[in-house]
């Protein structure tokens, strides 16, 4: 059995119904496939959990952190929900768009960075919150953006 299948079995054993492991399986599959879920990845999940690929896709399409389209090597997300919006999140969004030369929801041409806005990340008291590959940066101001982008571009992908 592959490492992937072994790990999925281990997670599945924590529940009376193996389908409960589907989110973790999709997350692991996504990590193995450059951060998104091509058909092949969905088939791997389906095989490991004995569900259909369509079932795996129906789950993947429901959750925001699972991607059915290719993403960049790094994903940068800015919260624009109410608390961040009130203290100037839009100016942070615009700073990223200008620094990266793309609009939110797009990926840079070199495939390095996907930039998108997201709903509340639960850091409202530390606005504006930016997640870089799922790690939070808090109190981000437009002036901080060039350094964040430079750091992301230098990081190992």
């Amino acid at each position: 059995m592959s490492d992937f299948a072994t790990e999925v079995q281990r997670v599945a054993s924590l529940y009376p119904d193996r389908r409960s492991a589907v989110l973790e399986a999709l997350r692991l599959a996504q990590e193995r496939h450059d951060g998104w879920l091509p058909e092949e990845a969905l088939r791997e999940v389906a095989d490991a959990l004995e569900v259909t690929p369509a079932y795996a896709k129906s789950i993947a399409s429901f959750y925001d952190m699972l991607h059915l389209e290719p993403v960049g090597r790094h994903v940068v997300e800015v919260c624009t929900n109410l608390a961040c919006a009130l203290v100037g999140a839009q100016r942070v969004v615009e700073a990223f768009e200008s620094e990266l030369g793309i609009r939110s929801g797009e990926t840079t041409e070199d495939g390095e960075i996907t930039f998108r806005t997201v709903e509340c990340l639960g850091g409202c008291g530390y606005a504006t919150v930016v997640a870089v590959d799922e790690r939070y940066r808090q109190f981000v101001k437009p002036d901080d953006v060039p350094a964040i982008v430079a750091e992301v571009r230098d990081a190992e992908g």
Partner: protein, 438 residues
């Protein structure tokens, strides 16, 4: 004067993320005490403490536990709702990140009360750092043989606001799309995998060990008669010192905003306050003396919600804020119930029309009509949550909405604090959109 630190007690002296630190702060003594008690006695104690759910609804935890069919031949489950996603709320994140063992001990005590051997903690997928801390704490506690017959699993979500709704959470935990279930049957009768299930918020469960440690009487010394104890209030928006503050329930809103939060930032004027997360009706400055407890906030026309207080200053256009909130609920509607799925789209379109200066006065009535057609007409409260901000902003800031119509555009002239805010829904091309007839 009793100190209002219950949930976060000891964090100033010890690193409570470690087992040793938590033990030095008297940790894992309450579970010993609880295991010496019968489940019935333990539930009675929770009832005496009148611990009300910290997740939003304020339902007494002890009563919830007493509804569990403990004689059922099926397994009993305890599920902790750690899917904190309400805009404005970040209290559970601090509990898991700073006092994970208090949450775990609360799980063990509650599991004993309902005779459950399996605990699932459903944490939102975005809380990666907190997941790592909590998962390590669970491993440490397990390795120290603190679990007895109980198994505790930390389960990560993958990004869906709706999974904070308890039945959607159960479906998600079962490996399905997170969509709410019809009720009845309620989870204590038929919950996870069809078995009796107790579901509580992180803040509720993490309070339990302190009730045993302090004793019911001392626990009830803080807070008010109808809502004893403390809560962590998440303060955000236009204040000098945003952040989490643990306060006695019943503390006046003014104290949180001005004494803890340092008042409105930049010397601006207070315009509005959202007292319980984005889904509750907004309050106006004349209500700033409202005590922060379940009953008082309800008497003021809003809800305690997730204790997330958002401060809004006079630079904010309430139409833009309503539109941003409506876009959030449209994005997060799971699509199961028509009033919520379609109604949130109508709200977004009507609010866009108003903000752009294309609306007539009749559109304001239409917007309220749409709200009325959503409210109370869906399986879960998400539809209601979409309505409360929109209808309350419209009712309480009616003149501002009318000005958008009469001046054929936003009276803030591009100077609003939330001008042009991008929403994730704007990035999606795949949402089919029903059009509001002109």
């Amino acid at each position: 004067m009793p100190k209002a630190d219950v949930l976060l007690a000891g964090t100033d002296q010890h690193d409570l993320t470690t087992l040793d630190g938590y033990r030095a702060a008297n940790g894992y003594t309450a579970i010993e005490q609880a295991r010496g008690m019968s489940p019935d006695a333990l539930i009675e104690l929770l009832n005496d403490a009148n611990l009300r759910g910290r997740g939003g609804a304020g339902f007494p935890m002890g009563r919830k536990a007493s509804l569990i069919d403990r004689k059922s031949p099926k397994p009993k489950y305890l599920v902790v709702n750690a899917d904190e996603s309400e805009p404005g709320a970040f209290k559970d994140r601090q509990i898991m990140g700073e006092v994970p063992h208090r949450l775990i001990e609360g799980c063990l005590i509650t599991a004993h009360a309902i005779e459950a051997e399996q605990v699932y903690i459903y944490i939102r997928g975005e809380y990666l750092a907190e997941y790592e801390i909590l998962a390590r704490a669970v491993e440490d506690a397990r390795a120290a043989d603190l679990f007895g017959d109980v198994s505790v699993v930390v389960h990560r979500g993958a990004g869906a606001y709706i999974c904070g709704e308890e039945t959607a959470l159960l479906d998600s935990l079962e490996g399905k799309r997170g969509q709410p279930r019809p009720r009845p049957p309620f989870p204590p009768i038929q919950g996870l995998y069809g078995a009796p299930t107790q579901i509580n918020n992180v803040g509720t469960i993490a309070t339990v060990p302190k009730i045993l440690e302090l004793g019911v009487d001392e626990f009830k010394e803080v807070g008010v008669e109808t809502s004893p104890g403390t809560a962590i209030f998440s303060l955000s928006g236009n204040v000098v010192n945003p952040g989490n503050y643990e306060l006695a329930l019943g503390t006046p809103l003014r104290e949180l905003i001005y004494d803890c939060g340092g008042g409105v930032a930049g010397g601006r004027e207070l315009k509005a306050i959202i007292p319980g997360g984005s889904s509750v009706p907004v309050l106006t400055p004349d209500q700033v003396d409202t005590p922060l407890d379940y009953n008082s906030i309800q008497e003021a026309g809003s809800f305690f919600g997730s204790a997330a207080v958002m401060v809004i200053d006079d630079r904010c256009c309430m139409v833009q804020l309503a539109l941003r909130a409506a876009k959030f609920y449209m994005h997060e509607s799971c699509g199961k119930c028509t009033p919520c799925r379609e109604g949130t789209r109508w709200m977004v379109q009507l609010l866009t029309k108003i903000e752009d200066g294309r609306a007539e006065l009749s559109d304001l009535d239409l917007l309220l009509n749409v709200c009325d057609r959503i409210l109370g007409k869906s399986l879960c409260a998400l539809g209601d949550f979409a309505v409360y901000p929109v209808s309350s902003y419209l009712n309480k800031f009616h003149d501002e909405f009318v000005a958008h119509v009469e001046e054929r555009g936003c009276p803030f002239g591009g100077e609003s604090s939330v001008e042009g805010i991008t929403a994730p829904i704007d990035q999606h091309a795949h949402h089919p959109t029903a059009t509001v007839p002109s």
